[in-house]
Every structure is written in structure tokens, then in C-alpha cells.
């Protein structure tokens, strides 16, 4: 009977093997690997450029100053890239696995299927981009004359991780739609589009259906804003971080439940 620690070790060793595979795969196409980093950097600079242009014409958006927004964009980018490093490719590949019937093979493996499907590939370039985002955040922090305490930094980092789990749970939930329709890849990429909202300061949104949907259903407005507000001591009430954590728990639970129902429904591609 496998005891808990050895089980954990088994999963770790499988995960290490997956990492090794990803590194080998990436190193096979070095130029391509570097070019993707250039692409992501370019889009990041583009977002920062937009802020630069906006602040040519105004000195604040709601109660957000220029460097605070720069930090927000850095945080949004960092969260997005770490999410991308671990989960994005795998979520968007799920529909491919189902369509081609490779899912059979995954389910036969003596390991949790969701674990394997979610973490099969690692996007290593995304870590480089996440690091550049952290660099921008540090620079913005210096411009703001910020000296956050360890508690603030740990809190922001934890909330960032929570945010990544929210993204993962929601996108995986959308990806499981592939058990019903072949068009799920479009939905997954649609969700990816919504990352754009997470980089906007929350005070841009007045109460209304838009704000409600993207706070309580797809909490895009919370994911990057809350960690940054912890860092720059802008947080006025404790309910925002609590809401973020609660959303993560709900999202993970729902996505796991739907995943189980979907697996039961799965019939192989050929049969």
C-alpha cells in the first residue's frame, strides 16, 4: 500500500521527467525559443508604451499614478507568464488530445490523469519573461520610492500564486468543454484575450455589469490588482484578498467536479 510521502515523491519524479522533456524539446529549436521571448517582450513593451502615451495626457487614472500602473502591468504580465509557463499550452492541447484519441493513452498511465494532462509541457521561455516583468516591477517600485516589508512581499507573492490557480482552474474548466464540442480551442484562446483586462487599474471600472462579471464570475479585475495593492499599500479593506482566495477555492472545486463528470462522458475518438 503506497504511503503518502512516497506517492508525492513519485509525482515529483514524473514531473522532473516532464521538465527534462520540455527542455530537450525547446533546445531542439533554439532560434524559435529565443524568438518567442522576443515576441512576448515586444507585447509587454507595447503595453507599457500605451501607459506612457496615456500619461502624456493625464496624470492619474482614478487614484492610480503612472508608476503604480506600470507596476500593475508588470504584475499582470508576471502572473500571466508564470501561468503560461505551467499550464497554457496544456490547456489548449486538451481538445487536440481528445480529438485525436490520444486521451486514451493519457488515461492508461498509472498516474492522475488531470496531473498529467495539465502539466505535460513546460514553457520555459515564459520564465524569462516573468523575470523581466519582475524587473519592471522593481524599477517601478524604485520610482515610487517604495520599501515594502517582507510581509507585504510575501502576501503579494501568495496572492499572485492564488491568481495563477484561478486562471488555471477557469481555463481548464473551459478546456473541458472539448469533451462536448470540438471548438473548445477557440474558447480557450478567447479566455486568453481577457488577460488584457487584468492589466487595467480597477478604479477605471465603475460599478456595473461589466465590473460584476469580471470580479465575481471571471475575476480578471482582481487577479493583478489585489497583489499590487498589497505591495503599494493601497488596500483599504481586507475583503479583496479574501475574495480572491475564495474565488480560487470555488474555481478549483468547480473545475475538478466538471472534469470528473466530463471524464465519465469520454468515449474514445475512434469508437
Amino acid at each position: 500500500m503506497p504511503s503518502r510521502p512516497s506517492n508525492l515523491r513519485r509525482y515529483l519524479s514524473v514531473y522532473l521527467a516532464l521538465w527534462r522533456n520540455s527542455i530537450i524539446r525547446e533546445m531542439g529549436f533554439k532560434t524559435n525559443f529565443l524568438l518567442w521571448i522576443v515576441v512576448e517582450c515586444l507585447w509587454f513593451v507595447l503595453q507599457l508604451g500605451f501607459v506612457g502615451v496615456l500619461y502624456l495626457h493625464t496624470d492619474r487614472i482614478g487614484d492610480w499614478t503612472k508608476w503604480q500602473v506600470v507596476m500593475l502591468i508588470g504584475a499582470g504580465h508576471c502572473i500571466q507568464q508564470v501561468f503560461q509557463a505551467f499550464f497554457l499550452v496544456n490547456c489548449s492541447n486538451l481538445s487536440e488530445l481528445i480529438r485525436t484519441g490520444k486521451m486514451d493513452f493519457m488515461m492508461l498511465m498509472p498516474i492522475n490523469t488531470r496531473f498529467l494532462v495539465s502539466l505535460r509541457q513546460v514553457d520555459l521561455g515564459a520564465f524569462v519573461n516573468a523575470a523581466s516583468a519582475v524587473g519592471v516591477m522593481v524599477y517601478a517600485g524604485m520610482q515610487l520610492g517604495l520599501s515594502p516589508t517582507w510581509v507585504q512581499m510575501a502576501g503579494a507573492a501568495l496572492l499572485g500564486v492564488t491568481a495563477i490557480f484561478i486562471h488555471y482552474a477557469l481555463m481548464f474548466l473551459l478546456a473541458t468543454a472539448s469533451f462536448w464540442t470540438v471548438k473548445a480551442q477557440g474558447i480557450v484562446w478567447g479566455y486568453y484575450n481577457l488577460f488584457n483586462i487584468s492589466r487595467l487599474p480597477d478604479s477605471a471600472f465603475r460599478a456595473g455589469w461589466f465590473k460584476n462579471v469580471f470580479t465575481f464570475v471571471l475575476p480578471m479585475i482582481l487577479v493583478a490588482n489585489v497583489p499590487v495593492k498589497v505591495l503599494i499599500a493601497k488596500l483599504h479593506s481586507p475583503w479583496e484578498p479574501l475574495l480572491l482566495v475564495a474565488m480560487a477555492v470555488v474555481a478549483m472545486t468547480v473545475s475538478e467536479a466538471v472534469w470528473r463528470i466530463s471524464l465519465r462522458r469520454y468515449t474514445s475518438a475512434s469508437s
Binding site: 529549436f29 524559435n32 524568438l35 518567442w36 522576443v38 515576441v39 515586444l42 507585447w43 507595447l46 508604451g49 500605451f50 502615451v53 496615456l54 502624456l56 495626457h57 493625464t58 492619474r60 487614472i61 482614478g62 464540442t181 471548438k183 477557440g186 474558447i187 484562446w189 478567447g190 479566455y191 484575450n193 481577457l194 488584457n196 483586462i197 487595467l200 487599474p201 478604479s203 477605471a204 471600472f205 465603475r206 461589466f210
Partner: protein
Amino acid sequence: MQNTLSYRVNFLFRALFGLVPLMGTIYLWRRIYEDKGEAGEVAGYTLAAMTSYYLLVTVVDALTAVNEDDWQIAADIKDGNISQFLLKPIDYLAYRFCLFLSGRLIYMLVAIVPVGLFIWSLRSYFVVPSDAATLGCFVLSLVMTALLQFLMSYTMALLAFWVLEVSTFIFIVFAFEYIAGGHLFPLNILPPLVQRVLELTPFPYQLFFPVSIYLGQTTGDALTRGLVIQAFWTVAFYGIARFVWSRGIKKYSAVGG
């Protein structure tokens, strides 16, 4: 055509999800104008003008943007599907252009619901051009924009003759198009010097230029000059596309033979 139709759900999602970040941007501007007070202006734009700018961007984008054509062309080259076009008396560029046109037509039919609703919800900001001549110039420019969009994507996709993975190049060009074409913000809120430089690149003519004609911002000499530069880029990219194709074919047959 059938292929495109089977993906109409994807089109719908694309149109729908594409609008959400745009709404985010509009909210952002609203907030900025709110702080500026009633008569606030940004580089001559009132909030109403700014909103109509983004509405027009959505319309022009739905009418002219390429969506999957470049990926398909690159895949055709990589998988060797273009061999059959070399044997048949069909011009590949003309064939792709027909696919592009039909793809646009279907996209418009599908996107008309979400885009229509979006415009309806902001209808008070939707303006009509001041006179028929403006409208004529807008349509002329719009046609050239579509041609330019298509030809640039086509040329980029032809890089697949030389490199394994063209998506990075396509995304790099798209990033420039996104910011220098006016997707993110109207180009005339930029410092004048930057505007003058951008005017000479092909990017503003992929989106911003027709929009600015429609809104009556580009008139007189600037209008003529813009149309000439746009025509120049369109013809130039036609030439480049033909040239790259002929070079690529040589490379291709060398590999295949």
C-alpha cells in the same frame, strides 16, 4: 467556404472575446475624462470622439483584418500542399485572395450580431461621415487597407519557405501593427514628430488611416498625400509578395526535387 462555415462558432467567440478588452479600454478612457471634467479633451478628442474612434476601429477591423489566412498559407507550404497549385493553372495568390474575401464575408455575417449589439449599446457615439466625398474616400481607403492587410500577411506567411516556424515573425509584425496601426489608441494623440515618422510606414494604413478619414480628421492635402502613400504601399507589397513567391518557389522545388 464550407470549411470557413464550420468554424463560425469560433468566429463568434473571436468577435465576442475580442470586444471585451476593447470595452476595458473604453472604460479606462471614461475614467480619464471623468477626472478632466465636463469639457475635457485629449489632443482634440472629447470622450464622445474617442468612443466613436474605437467603434470605427472595430468596424474597419471586422471588414479588413486577416485572421487565419497567414497560418493556412504557412501550413500549405510546410505540408507540401502547394505542390498541387504549381501543377494546376491556378495562381496561388489569386486563390488565397478569394479565400480571404470569402472568409471576410462569413466573418462579417457572424460578427454582425456581437459588433452590432456593441455599436447599438454605444449608438449615441456612432457618427456618420460629413459628406459623400468623405465616404467615397473612406471606401477607397478601406479597399486598399484590406488589400494591404492581405498582401502583408501573405508575404509574411511565405517566409515558411525558409523558416520552420513563421508564427513568431507574424506576431512580431502584428505587434507593430497593433500599436502603430492605431488599435490601442488613436495615433494623433502621439507627439507630432512620432506621427510624422509613422505616416511613412505601412502600419497606419492598415487601420488608422481609413478611420481618420471617416471621422473627418484627415482632409485636403493630408488626405491626398495619405491616399498616395497608401496606394504606394499596397502596390509595393504586391510586388514584394510576387518577388518573395518566385524566390520561394525556387527554394521549394530545390528541396522537393
